[in-house]
Every structure is written in C-alpha cells, then in structure tokens.
Symmetry: C2
Subunit: 340 residues, 2 copies
C-alpha cells in the first residue's frame, strides 16, 4: 500500500453510488430522510473506496467541529505532562485534540506566535483552544483557556498558586539556616514569574532578611538564560549560600554551573527550583523544588475549555491550583551555619 493516488472525495463516492454529493453528505452525517436502499448503496461505495471526509473541508463549512486545539511554542517535559492531563480530561468527551506547534524553537519568529496560531486555527478548525504560556494577552473568536497567562490577563486561565509555592521553598531554605539566598527570575511578563519573585521577597521580608538586589538575576525561564546569571552570582566575592531559580530548567542549569565551578551541592551550595519536571528527580543530587502538577493544570484547562465550548460553565473562569514543596538532596544547611 503506502502512498497511493489522489484522496477519495465525496464526489467520487457520489459518482460510484450514482447519487448526489448532498445525499452522500446526509448518509455520512446520519441525517434523516434518506431511503434505506440509498443508504446501503452509499455505504458500500464508501467502504469500497475507503472514503473518509476531509477534516479541512468539513470544518470550513461547519461551525462546530468537535475538535479542540492546543497551541504551544516549544515541546518540553512540562508540555508533555500538560498534554497527558488534557487527554485525560478529554477522554471519551467526543472532542478530538489538535496540537499546533511551530518549528521555530527559541527563534525570533516566536514573538506573538500564540496569537498567530490561535487565529489560524480558531477561524474554523477548532471549537476552542488552550494556549500554553503565551507571550502576551490573547484574543479569539472562540473560547480560549490559557495555562500560565501573562500578568494582568483577563482571559479564562489556569495557574498554580505560584506565590504560596515560592514562599514555601524560600521558607525551607531559611529554616535550613540560609540568609544569603540568590534568585533567578523568569520572564517577567508572566504572572507566574511575577508571583514567584513576589514569594521570594515576601518570605525574606517575613524572616527579616533584607532583599539584596545584587542576588537577583533576570532570566526568562529558558534554561540557557540561567547559565551566565548563575556564573555571575557564584563568582561574587560574597556568593549566596543558596540559589532559588524560578523554574527547574534554570535550576538544573545552576546545578551544572556549580559543578563546573567545583562547588559541591548541597555541601557548598543549596539549589532549589520550581515546577517539578521529571528531570529534577533524576538529577544528581535530586532537585528540591515546588510541584505544580502540570498534569492537573492540563486537566483543569481542558475541563474548563470543554465546558466553555458547550456553553455550560458556571464557575470561576480563573482557576488557581495548590502546589507542594518537594524536598530532595539539593538543599541542606549552609556550611558555616549549622541548621537550627
């Protein structure tokens, strides 16, 4: 088999069955008002030719497609977790899922990707879309749910309770005896990045530790952005005894840099992240982090979108999910100051 000629169209079926395309369409869609014998003829032609309706043509003509979309920039571990949750929520829901990704990883073309893809899909293909970590506010003619929206967004969304999560991990470091705690921030337009930094500041303030701006590096969640920042922090004459990075990807990069510099973790330096991606458990030592269950973010987003599309949503349109601290081997009391 493999590659065969032109695709079989409804027209081909109509000719083969000796009826009009309108009739074929009725049979395919199970509409009433077709005689049993005609149905049989058409069915047999469909079978014989291996006809399958074109998703594109159907969705251009119809308003409802029963396909939901998910738009994401890159494809990383956390995206995979999100997807698993989405698939679970959509299981046997009657909705299929289309995921659209552009191939330009980390490229300059990327800015505004989410809006472009969203518009191109939601014109006709999908009944609604989930957008993962967009660069800006999004708008669409069909329902949208954003996972990790930008700060100030008014679109329906699902986020982790980033503030509480960040507070808990910084409190953990403080309890171990750390006082000089570095921070590597994420892309500041995102509400998640803002809340994680706010949590860092609040936890320090609460403990009476002044915030030292020299200990804050400005990353963008991209692991590579954390390399130079970690170097800058650790090369200081008065380096921090612990570094909290706003994402696991960046924290793992800090781990690498520390190794390069000959620092042992957690002996010389404690490191903590945020997200709990699978790689964090596998790191050596395991990374202390905040679990935000990307699976649940995906699940809740899909559930919300499904309800919005069906027009049966009653509850709040901005969902915030709890986080939990995951303590692993990368954090310990600082060398000079034994823990309390």
């Amino acid at each position: 088999m493999a590659e065969v000629g032109a695709p079989v169209t409804m027209n081909d079926v109509a000719r083969a069955a000796g009826v009009s395309t309108a009739t074929v369409s009725r049979v395919v869609n199970g509409r009433y008002g077709v005689s049993a014998s005609t149905i049989a003829q058409v069915r047999s032609a469909i079978e014989r030719l291996g006809y399958e309706s074109s998703l594109v043509a159907t969705s251009l003509r119809r308003s409802r497609t029963n396909v939901l979309g998910l738009v994401t920039h890159s494809f990383q571990s956390y995206t995979a977790e999100v997807l698993k949750g989405v698939m679970q929520a959509l299981s046997r829901s009657g909705f299929d899922l289309i995921i659209y990704t552009n191939s330009d990883l980390y490229g300059t073309y990327s800015e505004g990707w989410e809006q472009r893809h969203l518009t191109r899909l939601s014109g006709t293909l999908t009944d609604g879309c989930i957008v993962v970590t967009p660069w800006g506010e999004v708008r669409s003619s069909t329902p949208v749910v954003v996972i990790d929206p930008v700060r100030g967004s008014t679109v329906p969304s699902v986020t982790a309770d980033n503030l509480t999560g960040a507070i808990s991990v910084v409190e953990h470091l403080l309890a171990l005896g750390h006082r000089r705690i570095g921070f590597i921030a994420g892309r500041s337009s995102l509400e998640a990045a803002w809340s994680r930094e706010e949590g860092y500041r609040r936890a320090l303030a609460e403990a009476g530790v002044p915030v030292d701006l020299a200990l804050i590096g400005r990353g963008d969640f991209n692991p590579d952005s954390a390399g130079p920042l970690a170097h800058a922090l650790l090369d200081r004459p008065d380096p921090p005894t612990a570094v909290f990075a706003a994402s696991d990807g960046m924290a793992l990069k800090v781990l690498e840099v520390a190794k390069d510099l000959g620092l042992s973790v957690p002996g010389d330096l404690s490191v903590a992240g945020f997200d709990n991606i699978p790689e964090s458990a596998l790191a050596e030592p395991g990374l202390t982090t905040v679990d935000q269950s990307m699976y649940r973010l995906g699940y809740e987003a899909a559930h919300l979108l499904k309800s919005l599309v069906s027009g049966e949503w009653e509850g709040r349109r901005r969902i915030r999910l709890p986080t939990s601290l995951v303590i692993r081997g990368s954090t310990a009391p600082p060398k000079s100051t034994p823990g309390p």
Copy 2:
C-alpha cells in the same frame, strides 16, 4: 480582550483596503505584481484588523501547506519523547507540526483510528504524516512515515533494533543465573512485539534453555493487560525466577503485582522491561530495561518525512536504530542459584 466577535476574513481586509480579495491574497503571499501603494494600503488594513489567514481555507485551496502531521492514539511518556525528537528535527525547517489525537483512550472506537485520522488530515491539511504505533498497515495520498509499524508493513518506517535489544536483556538474565524466565508479549501484530519475542526465544535457544510455553503471557503493550498475566505466572507452583516484559509499562505492572504478592524484587524475582521510559528510572527498584531512544525514533522519522515531502530522499526508507541495555536494580541472581 478574550473572546471577540467573528473572525476577520480576507474579505473584511479587502473591503477595508478598497481592493479585491485576489489582491489581498497576493499581498499576504508576497506575490509579484502589486503596486507599492496598494501593498501599503493592504498591509495597514491587515494590521488594523488583526487579520491572519485561515489555515483551513488556505490548505483547502493549496496543495502545499508546509504543515506536517503526527497521528497518535494515546498520549503517554514515550509519545512525549518521540515528540521532542520530532520537534528537534523540524526546528527551523519551515514546517509546522500538527498533532492529532482522538479522545477515546483505549476505546473500541480505536481500531483503525490511524487510518481514519491520516485520511482526514492528509486530504489537504498536511503535506505528510508520521503515524505512531498503528494497528495496521496505512495508506495515504501524501508521504507517511510509521514509527513502530506492523509486521510485514512496506511503508517507510523507523524502528528500534528490537531483536538485538531483546536478546541482550535475556542474555543478561541468563548470565545472572536465571533459567526459568517468563515473558509477557506485546500486541502481536506489531513488528516490535514479534521481534522482542523472537529475541527472547533465540537467546534461550542459544543458551540451550528450552522455551516453556507456560511461561509466555500474551499482553498487548497496554500496562493493564499485564496484571492478570503476571498473576498467572507468579501464582504457579513453579514460578519463573525472572520476568521479561515486552514493554516498560507492562514491566512496571509486573513490579506492582510482585509487591502485592509479597515478593521482593530483585530478591525473589527479577523483572526487566523494554523502552526505557522515564518512569522506569524512578521505579523502586529501578527497572532494568532496553533503551530504544524514543527521542531518536522521533527525530529520524521527522527527518525522513521531511525529505520525502521535499522529494529529496535518497537512502533507505526503512530505518532501524540501535538499542542499549540499561541495567538497574530490578535484576539480580536468583535466590537459589548464585550467579556465575
């Protein structure tokens, strides 16, 4: 912002700019033969209205879309790995990727899903498709690459060297001193399942150990299918001292069952799998398995598809990738027979 009215069409832009849709189309697609002033007008209208061409309408009209498709039934850890490889291969290639999944996990609707989805997409939406672990042979009017084809398939495909991989893991168990080695097979129509079983048989034969059919359970790669089979094997009066499952998902299920039965692994029972999914490293004890780099399978499949679509493929159309044995804590010498 959020949800706004009807989507902006090319017609809207044409009216706003005072030109025909043909002209707007030319500007959008950068065709020659439009005056500079008209281009400026149209551009400004596009900007003002926030127009983005409809993927569906465009692909219905055009033969080439620069979108590749990936069709998969469910969405699991190995799918995520495959996707990462695919995305890497497509990075900056000019091709976008659409992933299509149906929501009916493990449902009866599933049989033949891959052909249905493939046909619906490849009619017009995509220039070519990757199909992951199909149920049967596939055909399409555009290029297809199958990851893990059925046995006897003639479609371009990418597979791990399952035979060699299975031999290596069984040899590992034999070297530890095991002689009664159980096997839980995968869905037999798949070439991967067949080769893994063949490897099991050959390694035993090579070692002069007769194959005991009572020690072979027939699963289907779905983890749940392995539960009853593991029970049956371990409840025997003469249970095997080791079980090799044809996939990690099934092997992890065997681990669970062993725990339920009060058997310690690897003390009372050795367990090995195939695939090396992330969960296997996290299991307690870590699962001995065969790494088949799903990432590379995805990467090679995308690379092959890209070349096929561009019509510039020269090499072989059936790619087989090497595997490697990963020894972790779940395998050890059997209790009664110390290792050699």
